[in-house]
Subunit: 222 residues, 2 copies
């Protein structure tokens, strides 16, 4: 029990931030993906995209419920993340269905990697609610198939989407950097106390490597 | 059993249409309402709106599943309704959060009234799946409260929203008229065989009366 992270100074503030950023991320992903249903070329694809969106909304509601049970005000917890997420989404508006798809897959992947990194550092109860939100029945896998199919017959799309993937990662890390500096309790959690931008940077490297693996899986240059 | 509607000529085609229009209506309502989350002024309201949207998507998925079980191709069943729904949504783009709210409430109400009208005319199995999609834990009631609060302090909004409500009903009935004429098997279901525009018109009158009741409930002139 002496290893219980819950004992560390600033721990409670870090958990509030963590739950806030996860919840707000799910909410904005839901809104974006539901909007991207409009871009989907077939009803079957609208359905897949809509399903992904509602799964994110369910995770969002689970996170809210958990915050309330824990006496955390969800609005206050999410507030610091409204600006960085809206900056990210403003700068990465998909110009078509394929860009929306790749964004959903890449964004979902980065979010899940971040969940995994952080869930090793929190108490059991928080970890349980994070794992539930992490649950993934491979719903996003259809994206890989569609992107691979498209670029087989369209080399220009492959180049454009590879660039798009790099831009998505760049914008995500740039907003994450802002968050890391401003929310030092959450960043401190990564290193067991005190803000260490070196450790934050190493986490970013791991997120980048996983991102590159996902790009390769879609058949795109990372 | 001689009263079983399933025996009537054209019955199967009518049920395919009915399930198709219900399912596609839920899908487009989901996409619109999720998009309107962006317009909501607070996180709490984004959450309410998002919840309404995902409930509609769950109904949509239930209807798809039922169609597949019954050997109906959902894409083919929904196809005839893509154009009328997109005409309706094109012509009724909310110019702000309040218009989006009123549209969600009015649209949901009209759809539910239509469900109720039609569910009296179908076989038990179809009725069961329609009832599940009708289920309503009063999620849209928060709309009434918000609209009443707003117009108490803003008489101009009351006038504008009353006009907006009339426009929504007009556009909905105009698209429904197109559907009634083009999908005569579904219309025939209303009168037990043969297209009877008089009976369709009487149903429209009932839908209009219920709409007016909902407008009054929001404190708006119908």
């Amino acid at each position: 029990m002496d290893q219980d992270p819950a004992g560390a100074p600033g721990y409670d503030a870090a958990v509030v931030d963590l739950l806030g950023v996860l919840a707000y991320g799910e909410l904005t992903a839901f809104i974006r993906m539901a909007g991207d249903c409009d871009l989907a070329p077939t009803l079957a694809l609208k359905t897949r995209m809509g399903h992904l969106a509602t799964v994110d909304f369910q995770h969002y509601e689970q996170l809210l419920e958990h915050m309330r049970e824990r006496g955390i005000d969800p609005d206050a917890a999410m507030a610091p993340f409204v600006a960085p997420f809206s900056a990210f989404h403003e700068r990465t508006r998909p110009r078509g269905w394929l860009e929306g798809l790749v964004k959903a897959y890449v964004g979902d992947g980065i979010a899940k990697d971040f969940y995994k990194e952080m869930s090793a550092l929190v108490d059991e109860e928080t970890r349980a609610v994070m794992s539930a939100a992490l649950e993934d029945a491979g719903q996003a896998d259809f994206v890989v198939e569609i992107v691979r199919d498209t670029i087989r017959s369209d080399a220009a799309a492959a180049g454009r989407l590879a660039l798009w993937g790099r831009r998505l990662l760049g914008e995500a890390l740039s907003q994450a950097q802002v968050v890391a500096v401003e929310r030092d309790a959450m960043s401190a959690l990564l290193v067991g106390g005190g803000l260490d931008l070196g450790e934050v940077g190493r986490m970013f490297s791991r997120l980048t490597e996983n991102h590159q693996r996902r790009m390769t899986r879609m058949g795109l240059d990372a």
